[in-house]
Amino acid sequence: MPIVLLDPTDESAPLGRPGAPRLARLEGTIALLDIVKPRGDVFLDRLEARLRERAPHLSVKRFHKPTFTKPAPADLRAEIADQSTAVIEALAD
C-alpha cells in the first residue's frame, strides 16, 4: 500500500526570471554598490578611478547597503535601477 506523506516545503516552484539583456557598451551612469564589507570601499575607489580614466563619458554614482547581513532594501534597489544603466557590486570578503 502506498505511503502518503505531507509536503514539508513551501510548495513554491522557483521563479524563472530572465536576466536583463547584456549591454552592448557601457554608457550613461554606472552604479557602484558597496555591501559594506571591509575594504569594499577601497575596491570600488580603484574601480571608479579606472572607469573615470578609461571611460570619461560615463557618470559614476556610489551606493551602499545599510548592512551586509541583510538583503538590499527595496527602495535602494529601486533607486539604483532608476538612476543607472548598470551596477557593479563589491560583494563578500
Binding site: I3, L5, L6, P8, D10, E11, T69, K70, P71
Partner: protein, 556 residues
C-alpha cells in the same frame, strides 16, 4: 417509570449522550433502516408516531452476544405488537452478521454498523450494549454485557413504554435460565487500527499541505533524502496520522501563519511547522516550543537570513527556560551540548528543518558558511536554573519566573574554558576573561553579544564569594580590556584595531574593552555537577546591523 435502583443508577452514571443520532444504516437484507424507526422511504415521522426502540449493538464473534441476542428474540416478542421495535446493530461485516443471524434464528431487523457511526456516536465500549430509546429519541436506559438484574430492569422499562405487563417479560426470563452475569467483549471502536483510521479520516480536512504518494517499490527514506528534504540524517516520514497527532500538541489552527521564513520569505503555517517537527522526531508536546523558536528566529531583530547566509560559523542556539524544561525532559545537565536527549535534539533540529524546507535555506545555495558548525544540525539547551543562585536568563530579560521561554542567539560552537585550580571568584573569572579575549581574534575589541555558559562547579566557586552575574560581567570587562598598543596590526598579522582609535594619545595609554558593555555578556548556567570547565559561545555581527538575541514566551 421504574424507581431508581442500583442497576439503573449505574446505567445513568455512564457517560451516554442523551439522544440517538438520526442515522440510516444498511440492513443485512440489502435495505436501509432509519434509527428513529420511521418507515423506509417515508417522510420523517413526528415524535408521537415513532415507535420506542430497543437497540442491541453486538459482534458476531462475541460469546455473550451468542447468549443475549437469542434471548432478546424471545423476550421482546410480547412487546412488538405494542409498538416497540427491536433492532440488532452489528459491528461485524455483512457476511459474518448473516451467519450469526441464521445460526441463532433471529427474526427482528438487523442493521450493519461496519463504519461504526452509531457505535462512536453512542460511545459503545462493550458488546453487547442494549439501548432503550423512547419515541422522541431519548436514550432512557442502557445495559452493557449481561447482568440479569440490569437486563430485567431495562426490559421492565421497555414493557412500561409499550404498555405491556412486566410479568409477561418475567415469565419468559424464567424459562431462559440466563446466567447471573457474563462479561462482554470489547467494542470494535476500541480497536487501535480502527481508532487510527477514524482519527485520520476525521482529521484529514484540517490538512492543507500537498500530498505525495510513495509507492511500495520505493524506500520512503531514500525518497526523502533524494528530494533534499533532510539535513543529512534520516527523518521520520511525515504521514497524515503523524502530522495530525503532532497538531494535537497545540491549540493553534493548522492554517495559522507562524512566521515568514527566509530566504524564500514564504509563510510557515502551524501545519508546515508540524510536518517538519514530525520529520525531526519531535513529540506533539514539543510543538509549542518549536513554534516559539520559529517565531523568534524569523523576527527582524534575529535576522535568520543573515545568520543562514553568512560565511561565518553562526547557528541559531535555542535556550529554553521555565517550567516547560521539566515537562518535556529537556536536558540542562550532563552533556548539555551533546547527544542523547530527544527534546533537545529534535526541537533544535525542527527549527533548522523549517528553515531548510519552508525557507529554502540550504548549504551551497543561500547558505555560504565556510566551515559551519555541528550546531547547524541542532543546537538546543535548557538552562540549569536549579544549579544557579542567580536569576535565570529569561527573568533577566523581563519574563516571570513561571513563564516558559525560548531565547534565540546566533552563536558559534561552544569553545571550552578550563580552570581547575582557582579557588576564588576573582580567580575563575580571570580565567574566563583571559579565554574570552580569543573570541573572534585576540586583537578584536569592542565586540558585541555572546553567551557565557557557566558550569555548576564554576558557579559554586563564584557564588561562594557572594558575586552576582553583574559582578561577573563587570570583572570580565575590566580584566579583558587591553591597551590599544597590544591590539594594533603588525607587519605579519594584519588583523587588529585601527591606530586612529587612540586619537592624539599614546596607544599604550588607551585601554579598549573586549566587549562594548557588560550587558553584551549573557550568562547561562548549564552542565553537569562535576567538571571545572565552562564555555563561551561567541556571537556574530551584533546589534541591529546583524543579529540580536531574541526571547519569546512559549504558548499553547
Amino acid at each position: 417509570m421504574a424507581s431508581a435502583s442500583e442497576p439503573a443508577a449505574r446505567s445513568a452514571e455512564r457517560a451516554t449522550p442523551p439522544r440517538l443520532p438520526a442515522l440510516v444504516l444498511p440492513t443485512v437484507d440489502g435495505d436501509a433502516i432509519a434509527l428513529d424507526g420511521s418507515p423506509p422511504g417515508g417522510a420523517p415521522g413526528t415524535a408521537s408516531d415513532l415507535p420506542a426502540r430497543l437497540i442491541v449493538v453486538y459482534k458476531h464473534d462475541c460469546a455473550t452476544c451468542d447468549l443475549v441476542l437469542p434471548a432478546l428474540e424471545r423476550l421482546t416478542r410480547p412487546l412488538h405488537a405494542r409498538r416497540l421495535l427491536t433492532l440488532g446493530v452489528s459491528q461485524s461485516p455483512s457476511e459474518a452478521t448473516l451467519d450469526f443471524v441464521a445460526r441463532h434464528g433471529l427474526c427482528f431487523p438487523q442493521a450493519l454498523d461496519e463504519q461504526l457511526e452509531l457505535s462512536f456516536a453512542m460511545q459503545i465500549a462493550v458488546v453487547p450494549t442494549l439501548l432503550l430509546v423512547a419515541s422522541d429519541g431519548a436514550v432512557v436506559e442502557r445495559s452493557e454485557a449481561l447482568d440479569r438484574a440490569e437486563l430485567t430492569h431495562l426490559l421492565h422499562a421497555a414493557a412500561g413504554l409499550s404498555g405491556v405487563d412486566a410479568r409477561e417479560i418475567d415469565r419468559v426470563l424464567d424459562t431462559l435460565r440466563l446466567p447471573e452475569s457474563r462479561p462482554g467483549c470489547a467494542s470494535r471502536t476500541l480497536d487501535s487500527e480502527v481508532e487510527r483510521e477514524r482519527f485520520v479520516r476525521l482529521g484529514r480536512a484540517r490538512l492543507g499541505a500537498r500530498r505525495w504518494e510513495i509507492g511500495d517499490d520505493q524506500d520512503v527514506h531514500d525518497v526523502l533524502f533524494e528530494r533534499g528534504l533532510t539535513d543529512g540524517l534520516p527523518v521520520v516520514p511525515p504521514t497524515e496520522e503523524r502530522v495530525l497527532r503532532m497538531l494535537e500538541g497545540t491549540s493553534r489552527d493548522p492554517g495559522e501563519v507562524v512566521a515568514i521564513v527566509p530566504p524564500n520569505l514564504t509563510p510557515a503555517t502551524v501545519e508546515k511547522v508540524a510536518i517538519n517537527a514530525v520529520m525531526a522526531g519531535c513529540k506533539p508536546e514539543y510543538l509549542p516550543v518549536v513554534l516559539a523558536a520559529v517565531e523568534a528566529a524569523c523576527s527582524d531583530e534575529f535576522n535568520m537570513h543573515g545568520v543562514l547566509a553568512t560565511t561565518y560559523f553562526a547557528a541559531p542556539l535555542v535556550i529554553v527556560n521555565g517550567p516547560i524544561r521539566g515537562r518535556l525532559g529537556l536536558n540542562s545537565g550532563i552533556n548539555v551540548f551533546g547527544q542523547g536527549f530527544r527534546a533537545n535534539a529534535t526541537i533544535g533540529r525542527a527549527l533548522n528543518l523549517v528553515v531548510r524546507n519552508v525557507g529554502g535555506g540550504r548549504p551551497g545555495e543561500v547558505d555560504r558558511a565556510t566551515l559551519g558548525q555541528p550546531g547547524k544540525l541542532t543546537y538546543c539547551i535548557a538552562e540549569n536554573q536549579e544549579a544557579s543562585p542567580w536569576p535565570p536568563l529569561h527573568v533577566e530579560r523581563g519574563f516571570a519566573p513561571d513563564d516558559s521561554t525560548v531565547t534565540l542567539f546566533a552563536g558559534e560552537a561552544p569553545r571550552g574554558i578550563v580552570d581547575q585550580t582557582s579557588r576564588s571568584a576573582r580567580g575563575v573569572v580571570k580565567s574566563l576573561a583571559l579565554a574570552m579575549q580569543s573570541v573572534g581574534h585576540v586583537r578584536f575589541h569592542g565586540m558585541g553579544e555572546l553567551v557565557l555558559v557557566l558550569s555548576p562547579e564554576h558557579v559554586d566557586t563564584i557564588a561562594r564569594d557572594g558575586w552576582s552575574k553583574d559582578d561577573v560581567r563587570r570583572a570580565i570587562c575590566e580584566m579583558s580590556s587591553r591597551p590599544l598598543s597590544e591590539l594594533l596590526p603588525d607587519a605579519d598579522c594584519r588583523e587588529g584595531m585601527p591606530a586612529r582609535l587612540a586619537g592624539s594619545a599614546d596607544p599604550a595609554t588607551v585601554r579598549l574593552p573586549k566587549f562594548r558593555s557588560p550587558e553584551m555578556i549573557h550568562i547561562v548556567v548549564a552542565g553537569g555537577p562535576a567538571g571545572k570547565f565552562s564555555a563561551v559561545v561567541g556571537g556574530w555581527v551584533a546589534g541591529p546591523m546583524g543579529s540580536v538575541m531574541v526571547t519569546r514566551k512559549v504558548g499553547g
